[in-house]
């Protein structure tokens, strides 16, 4: 593919007159020839590629339950963190106001260390269950 002045001649480009020198220099790029074994090397690689077994598809069927559980755990953890962030300042700044029972309150968020411990234990338990479930599904063993 010897560079020549093609259909877009210098005159059709912006700043054409000033660009002639650049055009001339960059059009005269040296060409290199492929080395003698190039095509053979490519074909070897292609044959290896063709002979290789197809890639194992990701086991969605097995992984999906674990991923769903993990997602749920994550959502619960985010909700817990948000609830703690929102709720703790309220309890510390207005200690005398009794908070109305809420869904988060009913989950036991208004405790101190006890509730934090409970949440931690719950999170660990859920994480453990999800890991065990994923592993048992992946290995096929109960």
């Amino acid at each position: 593919m010897k560079p020549t002045i093609g259909r877009y001649s210098t005159g059709r480009l912006p700043g054409a007159a000033e660009n002639e020198e650049v055009n001339r220099m960059l059009s005269n790029e040296d060409e290199i020839l492929p080395s003698s074994g190039f095509a053979a090397a490519v074909m070897d690689a292609v044959r290896r590629e063709a002979a290789a077994p197809p890639p194992i598809p990701f086991p969605w069927k097995r992984a999906l339950p674990g991923m769903i559980v993990a997602g749920l755990v994550f959502v619960l953890a985010v909700m817990a963190v948000v609830a703690v962030i929102v709720y703790l300042p309220m309890t510390s700044t207005i200690p005398h106001v009794s908070t109305p029972p809420s869904s988060l309150g009913s989950l036991g968020l208004h405790g101190g260390i006890e509730s934090a411990t409970a949440w931690t234990v719950l999170a660990l338990l859920l994480a453990f269950v999800s890991v065990k479930l994923s592993m048992s599904l992946a290995t096929g063993r109960p």
Partner: protein
């Protein structure tokens, strides 16, 4: 080098005849290696990148929509690969300052030889920001065919044209000495 030969070879490869891919390699090895060479100016690396381009073409052969020429698809694929490879490991270059003020003593008394000046401009192109560099490389590789360059880069022609303009401006600002010197061999 006809489009129907390409299409026929592709169809045979897709039908399971791997050896037909060799026709494609034979036909396009030189352009693909030379395109890679313009991106990196390193022969060994150019061949490695071209080999990877052929492998990717083989893997994605069934994605070629026959509404465009096979060569258009192949060049776009190769360009995309070369651009990512060069982003991953940039080509070895020298700074533009070194190019603008060459140590060659001939520069002070009348200018550099053609070959040196051409070489300095090519090195300067490699030092340009990637979007201008790629536009310039593709434009000159495709024999100054703006449409082909735009297709290879998967960009609108207007964008490529603007990048060419800006790239040339940058070159001129970085190489005032070299581009101002008249050619020695000029009549």
């Amino acid at each position: 080098m006809s489009a129907s030969e390409d299409q026929s070879a592709v169809e045979r490869v897709l039908a399971g005849d791997i050896s037909a891919f060799e026709e494609i390699v034979q036909r396009w090895q030189k352009p693909l290696i030379n395109l890679a060479y313009r991106f990196c100016h390193d022969r060994g690396r150019a061949e490695e990148m071209a080999q990877e381009a052929f492998l990717r073409a083989y893997r994605g052969l069934n994605q070629w929509r026959k509404d465009a020429a096979f060569s258009t698809w192949l060049f776009a694929l190769a360009t995309n690969l070369y651009r990512s490879e060069l982003r991953r490991i940039p080509a070895r270059t020298v700074s533009l300052d070194e190019i603008a003020e060459p140590a060659d003593t001939r520069a002070s008394d009348g200018g550099l030889e053609d070959q040196d000046r051409n070489s300095a401009v090519r090195r300067a192109v490699l030092n340009l920001p990637s979007k201008y560099r790629e536009a310039l490389i593709l434009f000159y590789f495709h024999d100054m065919d703006l449409t082909a360059a735009a297709r290879s880069l998967a960009l609108p022609e207007g964008t490529v044209k603007a990048r060419l303009f800006r790239g040339r401006e940058l070159l001129r600002s970085k190489l005032p000495q070299i581009l101002a010197v008249p050619r020695l061999k000029e009549a």
